[in-house]
């Protein structure tokens, strides 16, 4: 609802209505529940969303681990020296 749910529309400015994968699933899944290809397409959409989420989370986790590892190693070095 927040994004405006404009199917098939890419936002051309900051205020334009658009759609996200999550918004489409929430808004329209019930209309295709009896449609075999529709349901499977929404499963494909969920798969894409899951892959995007996993990719972003893996990148974030790697960043936090690198930063955290650096800080801890330096802290130990500072204490021992």
């Amino acid at each position: 609802m927040v994004c405006g749910v404009a199917l098939g529309q890419v936002a051309t400015n900051l205020y334009a209505a658009m759609i996200t994968i999550a918004a489409n699933i929430v808004q329209n899944l019930d209309t295709v529940i009896t449609d075999q290809l529709g349901v499977r397409t929404y499963a494909e959409l969920a798969l894409v969303l899951l892959v995007i989420t996993l990719a972003v989370n893996v990148v974030a986790r790697v960043m936090v681990r690198r930063v955290s590892g650096t800080a801890l190693a330096d802290r130990e070095r500072a204490v021992t020296s």
């Binding site: 927040v2 098939g8 658009m18 290809l37 969920a46 798969l47 894409v48 930063v67 650096t70 330096d74």
Partner: protein, 243 residues
Amino acid sequence: MLALILVVLIVKAWPAILINGWGFFTDSVWHTGAQYGSSVHSHGITYLGGQKYGALPQIIGTLETSAIALIIAVPVSVGAALIVVERLPRRIAAVVGIFLELLAGIPSVVIGLWGVLTFGPFIATYIAPVLNKIPIPFFQGDPGHGQGLLVSGLVLAVMVIPIVASTARDLIRQVPILPREGAVALGMFRRRGRATGHPALGWLRPGRGRGARPGPGARRDHRGWPWSAASPSARWPPTCTRR
């Protein structure tokens, strides 16, 4: 569990992956087919003729809103974490920390509803007219009732700020006290925030050695360059003979 979800989704989506093909990622048309048209049987499923599913606008929308959320949430969260760790008295910091964690527990539906009913109209009424003055086409447009890309990104930012802030707070707490004291000694005055932000963020930055710039009163080496003992790349404890 994650693998199970992934396998179930792939199995469930496999016929659609074969039927939609690469067009799913490159097309913008989302058509659920002709209700009274003839049915088609293919790849083990029966579906209405004329169905076409292209998810490009949705994928772009998801990435756009996520980018806006991160652009706004990361500086705000790191700033909030710095204030909580470095600036606030311990008791107030503990209370703010509790509220940060409580904020993370608010259901996303509640934040979304707040976004639609309160935050969106507020942005459309007060913030959008200001942003409209920026002479970049992407910032100009009719905000309507506040339902659009900007508000989606902002609402998403509100959802992730507590998580990013608590992670940043835990990381900043790992910074030893020595670099901070060294920064103060070298002229990064605590009052101006340099002694807190620069060493802490510099220590946490993976690319080390670019951590901090000394203040105007900083000691300079024989070449006249200010060297930074607050930087994690500096030898610790600092000595005046270091080059």
